[in-house]
Subunit: 341 residues, 2 copies
């Protein structure tokens, strides 16, 4: 399977590292023989139709330079779109950074790959949050697979649990803690009685929150994941603009103390139940959703199996890369199926 890797940050590097060290298993157990024919970063690309030397690529990247610095196969300033349209491959792994304003550059990468007849695996929430229905239609029209397990829950198989393990059942509602940063802040506020601003500051120092923390604390990141869950799991054709979104800036220590007196706490919950929304919500401390620290948790309410909750880390390089690997295995499996029909 020839792969173009667009974006070579922590997820991309972890993925190539897995390819290097787990090749034997992926080939033997799953019939997946990944060959990375191109890697693109902000400085340009490295392209080799016979497959790049991943050990070398990782070394170049660790030096802090662009992948285009590779003497043999580097091409400075070559754009991702140019790489996608001019390189032969079966799959594009789109791991560029998220932008919820217009979804770019990820949105163009994905659309261009579809039109070139390539399957796409992405970890980029932006394009999905803004254009999920259009993107899945375009993938279908071009008869290619589109997978994005790493966009919800990092390495925790949230989307896969609902899609693969609750077959034959009907999911009637979904609710979840979908952002680790805000959950860390609310946990610290609740357990250590430290006000919002102070916790945010220490979270930034610890690297749990970004310098511009608004994507997390204003609920946008969680909202993107709600859009993906709503479309993929509950077949609702919505985008980010259809959601009511409220972040955690307004949550005070007094609110948390009042909730605690009722045996509850306040979490930033994304809900899909008729309407889809994100808001700070009081939940029982004995609700399985009530996880602490940077964990994520999602409860699927199903007609027959009842309420099923999945919990795990919602982010992290190796974790998210493992979701990309699972998506590639899934595409490989479905392709084998297709060849036989």
């Amino acid at each position: 399977m020839r792969i173009i890797l667009v974006g070579y940050g922590v997820v991309g590097q972890n993925l190539t590292n897995m390819f290097l060290h787990r090749r034997q298993e992926t080939v033997k157990d799953y019939g997946l023989n990944p060959k990375v024919v191109a890697i693109v970063d902000k400085g340009g690309a490295a392209i080799n139709p016979k497959g790049l030397d991943l050990e070398k690529m990782l070394t170049i990247k660790k030096r802090g330079s662009t992948i285009a610095a590779d003497k043999e196969f580097g091409v400075r300033d070559m754009s991702p779109l140019k790489v996608i349209t001019s390189t032969e491959a079966e799959v594009v792994v789109e791991a560029s950074s998220t932008n919820v304003k217009n979804g770019e550059p990820g949105l163009s990468h994905i659309k261009t790959a579809f039109k070139a007849g390539m399957h796409v695996v992405t970890t980029n929430k932006g394009p999905l949050a803004l254009a999920f229905p259009a993107l899945t239609d375009l993938a279908e029209y071009n008869k290619v697979f589109f997978r994005f397990s790493g966009t919800v829950g990092g390495g925790t198989p949230v989307l896969e649990l609902a899609k693969k393990c609750l077959a034959g059942d009907r999911i009637t509602a979904t609710r979840g803690i979908l952002n680790g940063t805000t959950n860390y802040i609310l946990t610290e506020m609740s357990e250590k009685h430290v006000p919002f601003d102070e916790v945010l500051e220490s979270a930034q120092k610890l690297g749990y929150a970004e310098t511009d923390p608004s994507m997390d604390i204003d609920g946008t990141d969680a909202a993107c994941k709600v859009v993906i869950l709503a479309n993929w799991i509950m077949n609702k054709k919505i985008t980010l603009k259809d959601l009511d979104v409220k972040g955690i800036r307004g949550v005070t220590l007094a609110d948390l103390e009042k909730a605690a007196m009722r045996g509850n706490t306040i979490k930033l919950i994304g809900t899909i139940n008729g309407k889809a929304r994100v808001a700070p919500t009081e939940i029982s401390r004995s609700d399985p959703l009530c996880v602490s620290g940077v964990l994520n948790a999602v409860t699927f309410v199903s007609e027959f199996a009842g309420e099923v909750t999945i919990i795990g880390r919602g982010a992290g390089g190796p974790e998210t890369a493992s979701a990309v690997l699972r998506d590639l295995l899934d595409i490989r499996y479905n392709l084998a199926d297709k060849l036989l029909t």
Copy 2:
């Protein structure tokens, strides 16, 4: 798909009820057209090669009489083994009651079905706990599928999460709360400070515990599930006799109070980590495993995706029947695959 249903208790009845009311979806969405050609209960069987009238079967059963009372297709005192060997079908759904002494009669039902070339779906832990490695070998030898999702977690897709959603990853350890009755008892003891004997008595009155509660409180039920997880998920060829098993009879209010002072509580935990065992174990209250009431919870420790926990009800008729339906869909899917190769 022609099905022989052995055992017509709460799970079997819920399954036929699902067949009746979800036929359109199972046929349209999954290509599964279930035709129940025989049902066996303790009084005999009802057999119709063209497919039994399930509405009628449910009515007969609700009157409290044996299924063999059906005037047209009933056969009094016909044994399950006779039905399996003399009726043409693709799948046997084995839902007779659990026996961990010698696995019978379920064990013979399953072996007979395999030898007759039939796939088997079971909700019966006994045969698996005593003979998992031998049974999977026998299924493989006879080239039939063997599924048992309902034996761990009721309708909660515990086995499926590990098998289908963590592909490409490596599960290095598993631990879980696998028995709802003991978890209910420990929760009540811990939260309401009522001693073991009193809670057990009220649990029996509420129907959460059996008149003979030893399967649950001595840890045997949890141990059966550990055997299944160890074999199916972690590829360890063990049976019930290989486990160290300790139940909750010895847990006192003083133990729980001491644990509480450390921010912990005591749960009956099944662990597979090198060795497999079941024992009351102190865990942190903020551990995602720490669920209350009759819930079950299992954490899979994976190499890349990290710790992933699944939580849900561990029992119940409709829930467990939904696991049987998923297994049937899975067999249907794999058969379609096989036909193409």
